[in-house]
Symmetry: D2
Subunit: 371 residues, 4 copies
Amino acid sequence: MSLPNTIGSSFAFTCFGESHGRCVGVVIDGCPTGLEISDQDIQTKLDLRKPGQSIVTTQRAEQDRVEILSGVFNGRTTGAPICLVIWNSDVRSSDYEKFLNTPRPGHADYPAIVKYSRMNDYRGGGRFSGRITAGFVMAGAVAEKLLVSTLSLKIFAYTVELGGLKTDPSKFSFEEIIRSRYSNEVRCPDSAVAQRMKDLIVEERGKGDSLGGVVECTVLGLPVGLGEPVFSSIESEISKAIFSIPAVKGIEFGSGFAGARLKGSENNDAYSQSENGQIVTKTNNSGGILGGLSNGMPLVFRTAFKPASSIAKSQESVDLSTGKDTSLVVPGRHDPTVVPRAVPVIEAMASCVVADLAIRGGFVPKVLKRN
Amino acid sequence: MSLPNTIGSSFAFTCFGESHGRCVGVVIDGCPTGLEISDQDIQTKLDLRKPGQSIVTTQRAEQDRVEILSGVFNGRTTGAPICLVIWNSDVRSSDYEKFLNTPRPGHADYPAIVKYSRMNDYRGGGRFSGRITAGFVMAGAVAEKLLVSTLSLKIFAYTVELGGLKTDPSKFSFEEIIRSRYSNEVRCPDSAVAQRMKDLIVEERGKGDSLGGVVECTVLGLPVGLGEPVFSSIESEISKAIFSIPAVKGIEFGSGFAGARLKGSENNDAYSQSENGQIVTKTNNSGGILGGLSNGMPLVFRTAFKPASSIAKSQESVDLSTGKDTSLVVPGRHDPTVVPRAVPVIEAMASCVVADLAIRGGFVPKVLKRN
Amino acid sequence: MSLPNTIGSSFAFTCFGESHGRCVGVVIDGCPTGLEISDQDIQTKLDLRKPGQSIVTTQRAEQDRVEILSGVFNGRTTGAPICLVIWNSDVRSSDYEKFLNTPRPGHADYPAIVKYSRMNDYRGGGRFSGRITAGFVMAGAVAEKLLVSTLSLKIFAYTVELGGLKTDPSKFSFEEIIRSRYSNEVRCPDSAVAQRMKDLIVEERGKGDSLGGVVECTVLGLPVGLGEPVFSSIESEISKAIFSIPAVKGIEFGSGFAGARLKGSENNDAYSQSENGQIVTKTNNSGGILGGLSNGMPLVFRTAFKPASSIAKSQESVDLSTGKDTSLVVPGRHDPTVVPRAVPVIEAMASCVVADLAIRGGFVPKVLKRN
Amino acid sequence: MSLPNTIGSSFAFTCFGESHGRCVGVVIDGCPTGLEISDQDIQTKLDLRKPGQSIVTTQRAEQDRVEILSGVFNGRTTGAPICLVIWNSDVRSSDYEKFLNTPRPGHADYPAIVKYSRMNDYRGGGRFSGRITAGFVMAGAVAEKLLVSTLSLKIFAYTVELGGLKTDPSKFSFEEIIRSRYSNEVRCPDSAVAQRMKDLIVEERGKGDSLGGVVECTVLGLPVGLGEPVFSSIESEISKAIFSIPAVKGIEFGSGFAGARLKGSENNDAYSQSENGQIVTKTNNSGGILGGLSNGMPLVFRTAFKPASSIAKSQESVDLSTGKDTSLVVPGRHDPTVVPRAVPVIEAMASCVVADLAIRGGFVPKVLKRN
């Protein structure tokens, strides 16, 4: 219960690696035996998160080619721990030493300096870099494959707000969202809004500034009763996972903060029977979760990302060696917003948590049958 | 990592008991040896959460007297597990059997029926009842005493929104909030708004309806560097704990969802040196957390509570035995809003998480010196 | 992974209580829903461990009546945590204060004084007392009921050596051992040897001395493949559990230490097919475990108990206040050997570990079907 | 609490890799920040375990060169997870497929086939190979460096019995044992006995047979009070770790099984004050552990290894495809005894457990001071 770099209990993973170290990797433990998995299954997901993809992301050029180091044999998982790594290559570390004296606003520099007595690897943000989420994506690719293979789940995230520009995803069917979410650089299912979001990013990047936004994630097909009570509620487990992604500052399920303004008679989701005999709710203010358990409706949650901390504008800081106030400009190649690249990361963490709960609840067996 | 009724790793607790069973209790493991703790220390906190306190809460009449069953000797913690219980008395269980056939909207009835094949204790909601948070409050009382004794922390929550009525807590000093938050039934530091909130609750209760709201929590005095990386970030650990409280549907830290609409240059908190030589930030959009670690500024988070699910109005449900749609009225004694009684629960869970991280980080020793 | 009073991950329990405190108890988490369990199921096991049963045990008179405080409803487990307690009554604490200054040889007094700065509950040994194993027996009763109900396992321990007197259990069939092991005070299936063991105990008690011994435990009916790899091998999990029993100083599986003197050609167990088509081994030097997993043969392990530390003879110690050597006589009512009362404790811990591994491996479902 | 490939809670490691896969590795989490560690520190330990070292080991030729992939920066640990790997090279996998049909006696083949439905990586034994202990040794090298640097501990194991040939280690001083234990191929401090052990190994290898033995391990310098109560006693934690080493079938602490034949008056260790004012015991039958905690005396435990399962002699097995009895000869390059190469593995696991308990108990800080 206490390993800060490990998450999950039945489908779990441990992550390692630094932004400018040798590599970034994960070790997955608990993946059922017999899952067919290939490099390409994982690479496809990594490519969605890869830096340098488009005008709205950092220009750091990494290939991010996955290598499977263990746990897969004859194209299937063996039940043994699965180690996956990508190797770092395009590293420019010279800029970072000065932040040991002048911490960047909005970054982990200052508390990390204090916590680790300046002995942490500060290059590129080290362990506090968003680059570690490449590991999350690799683990998530395995989790998602498992969930699709065994429970036919659909897990998909998409940008619903960026720099204050919003779309209403209820305008689109789930199928439309699934199909279109990766069709533009900002990963917004609403192509008109997406274009405005993109324009805004380019504009603010030009000014040396950055933007935040909100990503929604939906999971379709959850079995009723998935989730565990109390401290392992779906909300507890997902929020813990999501807040491990750098720049996340809020999460809400279903009607969330807006629901806090509704009355019970408005927010409660009435039950009815669907045409195929399923128990459904007429609305989904609960986001598919009651008492921490799935009620079989779509699991829906939204994640708030702060604007990226690294900006080209001059900022106020303190020179720790003298205690004097000073100013700072953060050089380097940065994302003007983390939102588009965070979309596959959210999908990955949602997949890992759901896979964990699915195995814990007995919805997925420990050994998969061969086809 | 997988026990759904246990939270924490260094200061941990396991909870047990049901709404209409014999008792509700917790076993705390990891509390440092030598903490002075009395029944009264715990009772004071329990009394803040007790049902039947005021017009805005349920009229169930429980004494909720704590009993310390283990782990305390000569008025001090011994290092052994601390078992704390309250006994249930005012139980009226006859009403609940019908919900096994006709699940209440907004409650855990339906997914619990499926998950446990109707064998869970459904009386009063069983394990899904808000009553289990009495256990959280007992554990939190010990955690808070520990944090006050060793680190002089201040942990306080307060209602900032109820039924759409809001206050802006920045109008008040921390001292004012600490002093006044329990001075009215809704636990809002703004007495004018509190009165309107109370009136609204009474009005909606009269209509058989319920309300939601938002509780803010602040922790003062955190040492810089408290928190662990990645999956044990302060946000990850607090959110996991907070979402275990029934009716919680959202959480945000610092500027949260609003911050997602700011630019980096607006949301980044500039550093400066305070008069006493401390490194501080001029704003606190981060909510005191950078990279998952405390930067020494006040930890601030807000929790969204949905309106209480139990309402007197007729609601639509399904008769599970026939599959036919039906309607349902939920009888019994219920809270028209959970928000006021949730305030001490939020404080308790915040205290438990911070105590856990404080011990993990080495900020609190395993054995306290005798005075 | 770090709670010292909790064991298990899928079928887990947390223990609390002290020898001379209010009670001794456990909270079981993870027991499948739907197991029929009664007070009497647990009491039957507790009675086998109860003090004051016979001439070979302590004369402390405790009723040790179990109370089920949570997790059982309508005679079945609900999936919620199961809290079980017994209340202490026959407590004589006056004698123990002096051991704070003059630690008893063979007891935990001295390291506990140092570890807890004299703030632990020292009365009756506090948490270091064998009395906490009453909690293990309560948890084990539930685990054993689960394993018998679902997998028809047989779990039985028995004394094979006491004070140097040995029996060879291979002289008896499993059925004979199961039937006869509780038929005499020393829990030895060999009635002739049992009588000599008993005589020896009485003799040494008369001299103010104590005895140790060896308990063997057998589990029949394990499914092939039960157990998890590496750190959760059957041997790892059982040994961790068994060494939590006070006075245990050794454990061996199958041929154990004697097997270390054999050649591979002698110690390897040859496979063959039994008449009913099962794969069996002709010998069982592995104790039913290969690679940490069950091979379907009987699981066999032996546990070495040191002679009870509390003896009436004068012993050498140190006066911690002066640093001078001194002598000490331990008064009170003590077991002249812990072996007979440890037999049901071994069965209990074996049951808990096997239940945990059975659930982890998917051999037992999370929800049992109603009959 | 449930990850089978992870051990420890404060100093923990997760292992991965297979005998004939790409690599064997570990990820250490929780190592304090600021420990100076080099490739060479780890390589020195790996070399002690390396195959092909001498006439008494397998002739598989692996370089076993460690690579530090993460967690070390500027020659010091950073507080981030430390990934260490060795790459496999001298792999001959063709022989193993037949064991899927005809399981080798004494190996994990049969239960693994059943557990994983023949989908585990069987080459070279896969995860059940002793080769995974190379990972243990890498983790142990870091743990030992930590314990030496901070607490000046001495951790050393040595062969005390092999093929029935014994030495009495009490004939040698600790310094002699430390100095001489790696001076011969069998790692026995008694050079005369070592020669006979070696001769016996060579003789039995010639006959196609194998031998077992007993390794003793001593840890000097433990602080009084190290260890945690109940399920995290020193014995519980060490035994769990030691039984994860393939071929281990028994463990005993202090007087162990022999102590079970002593009387309390003989086995209790009398206290006295040493010349330098320390509280010591005149004997050490407890193996330095009372109530699961260190009493400051040398921690002593012995581990029984069965004879290596892979022998050249013909053995009886079953053809799983036909169910008929058959015979089997295991080809390949095998250790005629695992004992000599297990000595550094025992040291490694002892180091990891003690490091974990030292951090949990607050005996080692989270951040080490720079020299």
